[in-house]
Symmetry: C2
């Protein structure tokens, strides 16, 4: 690699929590890690490409945060606890200010999540960031997309749609009179909160789970298909943040909620007998979980408004520029 890229390594030599189950971290040909006995290992990977997953002029602190967050969200969707991360970063030039901010964003979320950066690779080329996260789940308790059964209740955490609206604001394609609402929505895109504690609690409680990265409707469709069920979504049950309601009218808010991507909320199914247990969990972790529908026998996604079937054809969200 070009010599100046060696400089980069100092930004990434000690990010996140210092964990006792890391025998060898950054700096050798590979990391040596000590998996805990009695746990299964979860492995996820996600790439963010400049101009596809984030605007090329995005705040680097946000890019660092999101590169880790999207992976933590996948770990959460599997019911896992994140532990270790590897970072492969490709940059056209070495910009120390950019790197410092990127590392700050990545590092803050890593510390908050108990994750240690244990290895990586730095290369020159068009900007992209690939992060791998490894985590654990008690043996056999992993959550899959495929575990839903007819009769299960369908839930979503938080208020999906905020991030897509935030990106639209970020791009200057939407105006809002409330600067406070604008700031909150932009931050929902720039600094999404992966639902790690919720995911950990859903193991052994939820029957199926997926994270909402491509839009609620599209991700519900994936969960239903993999569970070999039909999904019913009731529009009047969809959660909507006060900020989203302040920025756009009700129809537009609904469009953001159903088709907007990049929220990194969890969408999951729970047998009715366990819904009280879910209430307790949601309260304990401080994350709102809204029942938005249910699974039935059959296939596909049916959208209703107060019980009346609505035509809904938008199948998903395509990332910024993608």
């Amino acid at each position: 690699m070009p010599a100046e890229f060696a400089l980069i390594e100092r930004y990434f030599s000690a990010l996140g929590t210092l964990r006792t189950d890391v025998a060898i971290g950054v700096g050798d040909d590979g990391a040596v890690l000590l998996p805990p006995p009695g746990q299964d290992l979860i492995a996820v990977v996600d790439t963010l490409v400049a101009g596809v997953h984030f605007p090329p002029d995005s705040a680097p602190r946000s890019v660092g945060h999101r590169a880790l967050a999207v992976n933590l969200s996948d770990i959460a969707a599997m019911g896992g606890s994140p532990a270790w991360s590897l970072l492969a970063i490709t940059l056209p030039t070495v910009d120390e200010v950019w790197l410092e901010e990127f590392a700050a964003g990545f590092g803050a979320l890593a510390r908050a999540s108990g994750v240690q950066l244990v290895g990586g690779d730095t290369t020159s080329g068009p900007m992209s960031v690939t992060v791998q996260v490894l985590g654990f789940v008690p043996a056999g308790l992993r959550l899959l997309r495929s575990g839903g059964r007819p009769g299960d209740l369908l839930f979503v955490s938080g208020t999906p749609g905020d991030a897509a609206c935030g990106l639209t604001l970020e791009q200057g394609k939407l105006q809002t009179p409330s600067s406070q609402a604008e700031r909150i929505l932009r931050d929902r895109f720039l600094f999404p909160t992966p639902r790690v504690a919720l995911g950990e609690g859903l193991g052994g409680l939820a029957s199926a789970c997926i994270d909402v990265s491509d839009g609620l409707y599209a991700d519900v469709a994936k969960l239903a298909m993999r569970s070999d069920c039909a999904a019913h979504l009731e529009l009047t049950r969809l959660p909507c943040s006060p900020q989203l309601a302040q920025c756009v009218d009700a129809a537009e808010a609904r469009r953001f909620t159903l088709t907007g991507g990049d929220d990194y909320e969890l969408c999951f199914t729970v047998p009715p007998s366990r819904s009280a247990q879910l209430d307790q969990l949601a309260h304990a972790v401080g994350v709102s979980c809204t029942q938005i529908g249910c699974l039935t026998a059959g296939s596909g996604v049916t959208v209703t408004e107060q019980g009346t079937v609505i035509e809904f054809s938008h199948s998903g969200y395509e990332h910024f520029g993608g």
Copy 2:
């Protein structure tokens, strides 16, 4: 992601060996893996960027092979046995012929190495490939760069320099009358053989190890620095393949051997008392290992020719275009 990218997934849904320690592979939010008890986990990651690590018009079968090989080489350098892999691939367009060939190259090496592809991510953007490999090493037996001691003998596997000469041939910057030598050298660049079985055997035998990716001289310097030793390299001991000797004169061959990159051989140190054991291992795994020098107290790398110190200033190799 753009809808057509979903097509890609079928190329990557079942690559490599089908392992019994994979509970959930490709297709959910993450993979669920069952680490064996009594083993430490090794995690490595490497990115190949088109135009930096390989010519943009490289044969896709070679790109698939190399993307996995460079990571298997890192696992080998840690003394580990590879098991699981994740693949993050970024492509400007969906070219099914390219993808099929890439998958064939990746898959063949994965099968030969006992590795299963368990997850990944496909994104649109400038072409690059990031691969993570996870492997195991018996608890405490991992090899590091830092374990070398004064008096240890310095070895290298195979015949480094071949890959860099092969790339030069591939780029049309060099002519050779021997089409057979040319083919062999090009293949050493296009389809390097990671020294996995050798690395597995070196655990508990070698004192330090690094894989030769940036050039022998540069990688010896890293090993010596991390081991807090000086390294002595004796030029007359350097191995040279008959093909390299056929293509270039002795001085040029030496330059390739010392500074050429992308060989993915192992460079390692062994206490003199264990050199007979190394001979047995090299014979058992069918890989030549040549003693090229030794470690002493001090720092830096000294190059000698029949004992006379030679000035040598080239500090390393910069990848194609990098």
